[in-house]
């Protein structure tokens, strides 16, 4: 479904992502792990169009997306979250969700003024769907609160909900559990699993290894910009290169 072919990205002298190829088929939940600075987020930025690739191609389905703008990539169903939580602080919780609804006729000026009925109908549908999603992420009671006033954990949930609102085919989550408490982590895991059941593909960067082992069907491991492993989580634990990437090289250690 997502196919990355020989993708490279450098910043000045530093090669952040070095000739990576990988493919995600209908795996369900896929993890991307690696030590700090190994290029995971850079890869995410390239997939979603925020960075241009230096070399290589990225396909989503049959479509070549490595030259597309971020908003176009989002519109074909590949939607991401950010490492730092980014709700829209001065919009209400509900508006945060509504703003993510895809293909809104009401975002065209002509419709706003000349086809108000269509816009209204669409808004009502979106609103209904948004309320369902708020239910799912347990934020129903917060719908008319400024999103910036939500707790950090609630903002995380809102962000996931917002991605969901965009009717994605695949979601890219960048460290969804960073900085939230274990109870909320469980809630998040349940939501993510629920998404998988609906047939949405999940691709996530995560540092919480037990969690990765628990929920991912497949993982990719990156180190210093290179892909050093792909396979199931239990194999990764035994892979010498993965161990080296995380713990350091054994031969030089003493």
């Amino acid at each position: 479904m997502l196919r990355i072919e020989n993708v490279t990205k450098g910043f000045g002298g530093l090669v952040a992502v070095d000739d990576i190829s990988l493919r995600l088929d209908n795996t369900g939940i896929t993890g991307l792990i690696g030590p700090n600075g190994s290029g995971k987020t850079t890869l995410f930025h390239m997939i979603t169009g925020f960075y241009r690739v230096d070399h290589g191609l990225i396909y989503f389905g049959d479509k070549l997306i490595s030259r597309l703008k971020p908003h176009n990539i989002s519109r074909i169903g590949l939607v991401r979250t950010f490492q730092q939580t980014r709700v829209l602080p001065f919009l209400s919780t509900l508006d945060n969700l509504l703003s993510a609804a895809p293909d809104q006729a009401g975002e065209r000026l002509s419709s706003v003024f000349f086809r108000p009925a269509v816009v209204r109908r669409e808004e009502n549908e979106s609103r209904e769907r948004a309320m369902e999603i708020l239910e799912l992420v347990s934020l129903t009671s917060m719908s008319d609160q400024l999103a910036g006033m939500l707790s950090f954990g609630q903002q995380k949930l809102l962000e996931i909900g917002r991605v969901l609102m965009a009717r994605p085919k695949m979601i890219l989550l960048d460290e969804p559990t960073a900085g939230i408490n274990p109870t909320l982590i469980r809630q998040l895991v349940e939501i993510i699993r629920g998404l998988k059941k609906r047939g949405i593909q999940i691709f996530l960067i995560e540092h919480n290894m037990p969690l990765v082992a628990e929920i991912c069907e497949k993982i990719f491991v990156m180190d210093s910009g290179r892909l050093i492993f792909s396979g199931i989580p239990s194999e990764a634990r035994r892979d010498a290169r993965v161990i080296e990437a995380y713990l350091g090289r054994e031969d030089r250690a003493s």
Binding site: L14, P35, N36, G37, S151, F152, E175, A178, G179, P182, H207, N208, M209, P210, L211, V212, A213, P233, S234, A236, R237, V242, I243, Y246, L247, G248, R249, E250, R252, A253, S254
Partner: protein, 235 residues
């Protein structure tokens, strides 16, 4: 104990990263904090150094409570912090970087001598002393950042990921320098992602996970501990 961290709770704004973390460090000891990403290792250093103010708990340095002291006060007491990544001033010359690093020294003659000895010690930096620091290689930059320890000669240095982004051979060099400085009487609290490397030069280590103490022991004990590996890789 030179440094005692007790039940430290800290974070950024609404987000709490560290939950009641405790650790200690004796005089002339190198202690390494390891743990997976997001464990809160760097946050420990920031809270101890005074870059962020802890929400709870206490930090005792040399028998004196310094929990809420600011960066500069702590620096004067002999506790310095070298952050990760951008830890030099790229548009200042190498020499100027050294001068700024030692700018809290009141005695300018002493500063001059300290800088001279640093330059003598690292010829590769000496060669470029009047060039902007941005022209240095990654390893040279790290050496330049570490020179601050030589200049200020503190009791305790907090180092955040000194090996990040460096070639293995440079990493070895950096750790050698840390060892040498330690022999001269400087204690170190390191954060390392390269766990083997970090632990191998350390007397003791602490393992953090999700902002909490997980394990502690000597470097060798931790290196041989299967739990450490599991922490990093899950399972």
């Amino acid at each position: 104990m030179l440094l005692e961290v007790d039940q430290l709770t800290a974070g950024y704004g609404p987000i709490t990263i560290l939950h009641r973390v405790s650790m200690g460090l004796s005089d002339r000891e190198i202690v390494c904090i390891i743990g997976p990403n997001g464990a809160g290792k760097s946050t420990v250093l920031r809270a101890v150094s005074g870059q962020i103010t802890p929400e709870g708990g206490s930090v005792i340095f040399d028998g004196e409570e310094i929990t809420r002291d600011g960066l500069s006060k702590k620096t004067e007491k002999g506790l310095i912090f070298i952050p990760q990544g951008q830890n030099i001033f790229p548009n200042l010359t190498v020499l100027e970087n050294l001068e700024i690093a030692g700018s809290i020294l009141k005695d300018s003659e002493k500063l001059r001598r300290a800088i001279a000895s640093v330059l003598e010690k690292f010829p590769m930096i000496m060669e470029r002393k009047n060039r902007p620091a941005r022209e240095l290689s990654g390893g040279q930059r790290q050496i330049l950042a570490l020179s601050r320890i030589l200049i200020l000669n503190p009791r305790l240095a907090l180092l955040d990921e000194p090996s990040l982004g460096l070639a293995p051979i440079v990493v070895d060099l950096i750790f050698q320098e840390i060892g040498k400085m330690n022999k001269k009487g400087i204690s170190f609290l390191l954060v390392e992602q390269n766990a083997r490397k970090g632990l191998s030069v350390s007397h003791r280590g602490y393992v953090l996970e999700l902002g909490k103490n997980r394990l502690t022991g000597t470097g060798q004990e931790l290196l041989n501990n299967q739990d450490v590996q599991r922490l990093y890789l899950g399972g």
